[in-house]
């Protein structure tokens, strides 16, 4: 088996709040993510899903443990090296984090303008092409505040994919979207993954919906990561925590069945 592209080894992270209480968010997380695979990280709010993403991106340093990206520990890297590693990443943040003083076009063009030596014309061509791919033609001069939630997510995707990343991180891709729109986002994401072959890490509450996409599902609970290789594994797990979680996220499906009977 080939080497994992991202590997978390015994990662700890805690935060201290203003009144001095310490919150231990991650307590020894171990995780392997292999190239080309789709990993879904689930778990209730406040269990450290977003923290895990930030650690993988090097936006935070772990208190202890290693975060290996292609075998190199990013927790001990200098800024220059870290920038090189980050060139492999494409990220869509929870709120997409569009640059709100820039238009859609400027947002999507920014990574190319800053990180490549392409001419203005070439950039224009590429950006317009990908705006078309994401169904955003005609919206290039709008500002992020003028877009709907679904369009905004697509802008985030388009921006993140400009530099053809090896790894895509997607934090809560469907928060604030209706079921039809969230399916649309997942389909788009899957389609582009087929084309580009990136490794995907998705943080999501939509566990049942996203099972079809996932090669492995990671459930975060009390600072630990539990890894499942298939949706059956997770549904039939004996672990009371996982049972709770499955019931919580898919509860309504079973309930409606009961009601029908």
């Amino acid at each position: 088996m080939n080497e994992p592209i991202i590997k978390l080894v015994n990662v700890h992270k805690s935060f201290e709040s203003a009144n001095g209480t310490v919150q231990r968010v991650l307590r020894g997380v171990n995780l392997d993510i292999f190239p080309g695979m789709t990993t879904v990280i689930g778990g209730a709010s406040g269990q450290g899903k977003s923290v895990a993403i930030k650690l993988i991106l090097g936006l935070m340093k772990p208190d202890s443990g290693q975060i290996l990206v292609e075998g190199k520990d990013i927790a001990v890297m200098g800024p220059k090296e870290l920038n090189k590693v980050r060139a492999n990443f494409g990220v869509v943040f929870q709120g997409v984090a569009p640059f709100d003083s820039m238009t859609v076009y400027e947002n999507v063009a920014l990574p190319l303008e800053e990180n490549t030596k392409l001419s203005k014309q070439e950039i224009r061509q590429r950006v317009m092409q990908s705006l078309e791919q994401f169904g955003l033609t005609g919206h290039e001069d709008k500002f992020p505040a003028q877009l709907s939630g679904g369009m905004l997510k697509r802008v985030g995707l388009a921006r993140a994919l400009q530099l053809q990343p090896k790894i895509m991180l997607f934090d809560e891709p469907t928060t604030g979207l209706d079921p039809a729109r969230s399916l649309e986002i997942y389909r788009l994401f899957y389609k582009i993954q087929k084309e580009m072959g990136y490794t995907a890490v998705i943080v999501s509450h939509d566990i049942p919906k996203i099972f079809n996409l996932a090669d492995q599902v990671v459930v975060m609970h009390e600072g630990m990561a539990k890894v499942f290789n298939s949706s059956e594994d997770i549904q039939w797990s004996d672990d009371p925590i996982i049972k709770d979680f499955v019931e919580m996220t898919m509860g309504h499906i079973y309930q409606s069945k009961l009601e029908n009977e």
């Binding site: 001095g20 991106l57 936006l59 060139a87 943040f93 929870q94 800053e114």
Partner: protein, 264 residues
């Protein structure tokens, strides 16, 4: 006993917090200065910031200067006429404006008008993860966000200070000479004799120092939003902005005293 322990504990924690905070701000200043020398330089963004910080502050500075000068004219006349030396009004107005009021009031007005805006803008960018997004695209947020504001403030504040001085003196002329009847020749010749290069230099040095203080504190408080104690959510941006304006204003006044005392 419990209370004493709690007191010592919170004293220690607060001391650590403030030292940490000061260190963070110091580091921020160093990184901002380093960001200035990073390429490519964002010339368009610099022009936009100069417009926002400088050109858009023109009206505020104009009126502040005009009324300050007019008040100085009236007050100076009132005091000086007690000694029968109204002829000195010109030099009194010019000296107080060039040495003190021009740099200080310009700095305070810019803090309120542009500094608060800078802080809120960066605070919102931090909160909505736009700063993280920049870092993840391997774009240095200091070069990208802070440098244009830094240089724009260094250009705008001294220029606005000079404008403040000129408009203020004309305001003093309006109230002292036109309304209260001081001799215009005495007004300007007294000014010419008493204002020396040293006074003007002091004013310019002050305006540069104040510019650094404003842009450092206001961008820093916004940029380091989640590392401070301002909490989370929309309230945190408003708290950070208030903090930035208060801190920057007090620091400007403190340094005004220090510079005046040192360079007298």
């Amino acid at each position: 006993m419990q209370i004493i322990f709690k007191l010592i504990e919170s004293l220690g924690r607060n001391t650590l917090y403030y030292i940490n905070d000061l260190g963070g701000m110091g580091l921020f200043l160093l990184q901002s200065l380093r960001g200035i020398f990073r390429r490519p330089f964002r010339f368009q963004a610099l022009l936009k910031e100069i417009k926002g910080i400088g050109a858009h502050s023109f009206v505020v500075i104009f009126f502040t200067a005009a009324f300050t000068g007019m008040v100085l004219g009236v007050q100076g006349y009132y005091t000086l006429s007690k000694f029968g030396s109204e002829g000195l009004l010109g030099s009194a107005v010019a000296l107080s404006l060039i040495r003190e009021l021009g740099p200080v009031l310009t700095a305070l007005m810019i803090t309120g008008r542009a500094g608060s805006a800078m802080c809120a803008e960066l605070g919102i960018m931090r909160m909505t993860q736009q700063v993280d997004a920049l870092e993840c695209m391997s774009i240095d947020p200091f070069r990208f966000l802070i440098t244009p504001k830094f240089i724009a403030t260094l250009i705008a504040v001294p220029l606005l200070t000079l404008m403040f001085d000129v408009v203020g003196i004309l305001g003093g002329y309006l109230s002292g000479v036109q309304l209260l009847g001081v001799n215009p020749g005495a007004f300007f010749s007294g000014m010419e004799q008493s204002v020396v290069n040293k006074d003007i230099n002091l004013g310019i040095i002050k305006s540069f120092v104040f510019a650094v203080i404003i842009v450092w504190i206001c961008t820093g408080r916004g940029f380091l939003l989640l590392k401070g104690r301002s909490g989370f959510g929309a309230g945190s941006v408003s708290r950070a902005t208030t903090q930035a304006v208060v801190l920057s204003s007090i620091t400007v006044l403190l340094w005004d005293y220090l510079l005046t005392a040192l360079l007298l």
